[in-house]
């Protein structure tokens, strides 16, 4: 299939393009938004983009169940990261009364 066709009809390239665009948007969220929670959501988005790419490859390689297992682990790790990260955000808010990541810059030179 040619490029655009592949994308539009759900070929491998299509899924990968979606994943890459999601990743880019997630990266943009981290870099361009100042609220810590927005940045956190961007990180989650990036993780999801990776998941999409993973499972797309799995499907086009014959549907290996190991990919799903890997996906499960990724979710587990994401959950842990979410818990701890949000706990840190709460801690920062209690300390500095802000969720602006730019204000949490006391390690600057």
């Amino acid at each position: 299939m040619t490029g655009m066709d592949a994308i539009l009809q759900g070929g491998l390239q299509g899924y990968l393009v979606v994943a890459l665009l999601l990743f880019a948007i997630g990266l943009a969220a981290v870099l361009l938004r100042r609220t810590l929670l927005m940045q956190f959501m961007g990180v989650e988005l990036m993780l999801n983009a990776a998941n999409v790419a993973l499972l797309a490859f799995a499907r086009f390689r014959g549907g290996d169940s190991q990919a799903t297992v890997f996906y499960l682990f990724i979710i587990a790790v994401a959950a842990c990261e979410a818990a701890v990260g949000l706990a840190l955000v709460i801690g920062l808010y209690r300390h500095r009364d802000t969720t602006d990541s730019d204000r949490a810059a006391s390690l600057k030179q």
């Binding site: 299939m1 490029g3 592949a6 994308i7 539009l8 759900g10 070929g11 491998l12 390239q13 990968l16 393009v17 979606v18 890459l20 665009l21 999601l22 990743f23 880019a24 948007i25 990266l27 943009a28 870099l31 100042r34 609220t35 929670l37 927005m38 956190f40 959501m41 989650e44 988005l45 999801n48 998941n51 999409v52 499972l55 797309a56 490859f57 799995a58 499907r59 086009f60 390689r61 014959g62 549907g63 169940s65 190991q66 799903t68 297992v69 682990f73 979710i75 587990a76 959950a79 842990c80 990261e81 818990a83 701890v84 949000l86 706990a87 709460i90 801690g91 808010y93 969720t99 204000r103």
Partner: protein, 164 residues
């Protein structure tokens, strides 16, 4: 079908990026995750789709929304010092990344070959298959993941205690 779900996902993500209100951004995120779940179904992996909805949207995003509402920070605060350089560099970087990546994907012959060879739809993933693989081949990983979750739990509790 693919286009629909792809658009849901991407538009949700974009919405999250561009929204000023954090709560609304979170809701856009939820929509994006649903889109992703749909994509998983199209990828012959209903298990993953279910997990996505249950864990990601159901647990993680709910947690995030809880925290947003607890901290009462709906609006984005005023910037301390506007830094146009950083903003433009970031935008440039991201667009470059996006375009570059897409072009790469489209131009790659290897991917073309892979797409063609795997064009046939495989069997749908079943929970049984996943479970067997998980408990037979990756038992250690499973246990470690469990430990990790335990550590995260303890960590979250410890970090948010008022007096240690």
């Amino acid at each position: 079908m693919f286009i629909t779900f792809a658009l849901i996902t991407l538009l949700g993500a974009l919405g999250m990026l561009l929204q000023k209100n954090v709560i609304v951004a979170g809701l856009f995120m939820v929509a994006a995750f649903f889109g992703v779940a749909g994509l998983f179904v199209l990828l012959a992996n209903p298990v993953a789709a279910a997990l996505q909805v249950i864990v990601y949207t159901g647990a993680i995003m709910v947690l995030v929304l809880f925290v947003i509402m607890m901290l009462n920070s709906h609006e984005e605060e005023k910037a301390q010092s506007s830094r146009p350089v950083q903003r433009w560099v970031s935008v440039a970087l991201v667009t470059a990344l996006a375009f570059g990546a897409v072009k790469l994907v489209l131009a790659s012959p290897g991917l073309k070959a892979l797409a063609q060879s795997g064009a046939a739809l495989p069997e749908a993933m079943t929970l049984q298959k996943v479970g067997v693989t998980l408990f037979a081949d990756h038992l250690l990983g499973f246990e470690v993941a469990g430990l990790l979750l335990l550590a995260a739990m303890i960590g979250a509790v410890a970090l948010t205690k008022r007096n240690l």
